[in-house]
């Protein structure tokens, strides 16, 4: 089975949120509150247990000569965020039940019939994607429309996107398409367009990657995400040192305590002094 991916091209996004709506309806995702954020047109704010697609509205001061905006206007860019389906996925590694698996399409999928809601994937995702649904108790995130892909269909968000901003296809094809698109954008004067795909980090690249304009950090796309498993070696080594010290100290303390307790009765001032050394 071919590895599939999402290429989200923010330069084509018009901020219509059709992807959010299509995802919610197809996957029967509950609402996650009706709040007015005051942040541009974004009242969704983040991916979460009940948001698998999230359109960001990035307002910035314009860079002269880019995108045709007049200097006194703000630039306004939109970008539909989604689970990155990491090559080395923190949530998948962390899941103690084996509920989170990699599918035959290369996506990362939470099996809802196995998840027991331990919450460890939540703190192991470097992108803050997966979260525990409070009223349900289990963890949820983008399924990469596993059901639709199994039936040979494209994910709901990609199908609903009216501008081709969300492209779905074979991952290797999309990577070529992204390079071609960047060349096209640069040729037309949008020289601040870049591809965000953290291939050089321990995440090892993502199956959902993005074309954005300007600094990806303005889209909360971290420049150096790391999969937490890289910390295991140093942390377990420290645990081994601590365990060794605990055994050593306990044996020494009791051995000395006993020796000093040999002649005077245990608990005497002399034994306490020597044992405390």
């Amino acid at each position: 089975m071919a590895v599939t991916g999402f290429l989200t091209d923010s330069t084509l996004c018009i901020g219509c949120k059709a992807c959010e709506v299509a995802c919610k309806e197809w996957n029967d995702v509950p609402d996650d509150g009706f709040v007015w954020s005051g942040l541009s047109y974004d009242n969704t704010l983040a991916l979460g247990h009940s948001t698998y697609r999230h359109v960001k509205f990035v307002e910035r001061e314009p860079k002269a000569g880019c995108g045709g905006n007049a200097k006194e206007q703000m630039t306004w860019e939109f970008s539909s965020d989604v689970c990155k389906h990491c090559e080395n996925a923190g949530c998948l590694e962390a899941c103690p039940t084996g509920s989170i698996v990699r599918t035959e399409f290369g996506g990362v999928f939470v099996q809802p019939d196995i998840c027991n809601g331990c919450g460890y994937c939540v703190v192991s995702c470097p992108f803050g994607v997966v979260d525990r649904r409070p009223d349900d108790g289990r963890a949820f995130k983008c399924t990469f429309c596993y059901d639709r892909q199994k039936a040979g269909a494209e994910p709901a968000c990609a199908k609903a996107c009216p501008t081709g901003s969300i492209l779905f296809g074979r991952l290797d094809d999309l990577e070529i398409a992204a390079d071609r698109r960047i060349a096209q954008l640069h040729a037309s004067g949008m020289d601040d367009a870049t591809i965000w795909n953290p291939k050089e980090t321990s995440v090892g690249g993502t199956h959902a990657f993005f074309i954005v304009r300007g600094d990806p950090r303005n889209y909360n796309l971290p420049p150096k995400p790391e999969v937490p498993t890289t910390l295991l070696h140093q942390s377990w080594s420290a645990a081994a040192v601590a365990a060794g010290a605990m055994v050593g100290l306990s044996l020494i303390a009791f051995a000395l305590g006993k020796r000093s307790a040999g002649v005077p009765p245990a608990g005497s001032a002399a034994s306490r002094r020597r044992g405390a050394k």
């Binding site: 039940t97 460890y120 289990r138 909360n220 937490p228 498993t229 601590a242 009791f254």
Partner: protein, 315 residues
């Protein structure tokens, strides 16, 4: 009204001159202060969903694990059998409390057995679930076998309990250290030793409060308090933005209170405790309180850390 020290005003003036004001939420329109690029300052990672059960589990599981180690060390060196018995009981009771605490914290408690579907060495949560299973069985086996006067089986179970107890006392540091939460991952190397020392301090404290007066216990308490004092100094001297929740705001205050009751106070009291029983008991009470507050402080610091995108947006 917030009271800031006079020196802060000097600091603001100096930072403004350099065009770098390190205050969150202060960016007057048109001001020359460059903004750290981020999406409206919204968080990048999700805060832990864990509630009160988890710090309490870290505390109980840690004390139980360290207690099983003390039990075996005391037995091997021929310490009083009442000390060995009490240490084994503390291990068994702590383990018995740990299971329900972990299960209660699950979003689907009825599915807790799914933890034993697979064993994943790369998941500290999986290693922990299996360790607790072994530790709970072995530490319960040790006290039950003793009640039934089956000494051999009891000793074997106590040995298994001590081996798994070593993991119990330290793995919780790996559990939160090897995550995407900046304040935790920054201290991935410190946390297992810090939590191990905290566990050892609470195990010795429980045995001291139970009435055991062995000099060895006071020495162990002294060593743990000394190490916790060192850890406190180390945390205070971190000036990276990842560690900010340990020094600033309500989580910083909780960390410092926990640190005071775990480090300097029991250290001083344990030194006095070489001669005074009352000081030993006071040191024990302080160490127990400090261990519990420290675990709460680390979880809360993790929640505060998740809310701050700056460490993750450093280029």
């Amino acid at each position: 009204m917030t009271k800031i020290p006079e020196s802060r005003l000097d600091q603001i003036r100096e930072q403004a001159a350099l065009g770098q004001l390190d205050a969150k939420g202060v960016r007057p329109s048109g001001s020359p202060f460059p903004e750290t690029p981020s999406y409206n300052g919204l968080p990048i990672v999700k805060p832990p969903v864990w509630t009160w059960e988890i710090p309490l589990y870290f505390f109980a599981g840690g004390a139980a694990g360290a207690s099983s180690v003390i039990a075996i060390a005391a037995q091997m060196t021929g310490a009083s059998s009442s000390l060995v018995r009490d240490a084994r009981w503390i291990a068994a009771i702590g383990a018995a409390a740990s299971g329900p605490l972990l299960i209660l914290d699950l979003g689907r408690p009825e599915r807790f057995l799914n933890m034993l579907r697979v064993f994943k060495p790369q998941s500290p949560m999986s290693v922990g679930a299996w360790t607790l299973t072994v530790f709970g069985t072995a530490s319960a086996g040790a006290v039950i076998a003793e009640l039934l006067r089956m000494k051999r089986i009891g000793d074997a179970a106590a040995f298994v309990a001590a081996l798994s107890g070593l993991v119990m006392a330290t793995y919780t540091g790996v559990l939160i250290g090897a995550t995407a939460i900046p304040v935790w991952s920054k201290h991935a190397r410190t946390l297992p030793i810090h939590f191990g020392a905290s566990a050892l301090a609470s195990a010795t404290a429980l045995l001291t409060l139970r009435g055991h007066d062995d000099a060895a216990l006071n020495a162990l308490g002294l060593a743990a308090a000394a190490f916790e004092t060192y850890t406190g100094i180390e945390i205070e001297s971190c000036d990276d933005i990842e560690s900010e929740p340990l020094r600033r705001g309500p989580t910083g205050l909780t960390t410092r209170i926990g640190g005071f009751f775990s480090g300097p106070l029991p250290l001083a009291l344990r030194l006095l405790g070489i001669r005074s029983k009352r000081a030993r008991r006071a040191a024990s009470a302080s160490a127990l309180l400090g261990s519990l507050i420290t675990r709460i402080a680390w979880i809360e610091a993790g929640k505060a850390s998740a809310a701050d995108p700056r460490p993750l947006l450093k280029s």
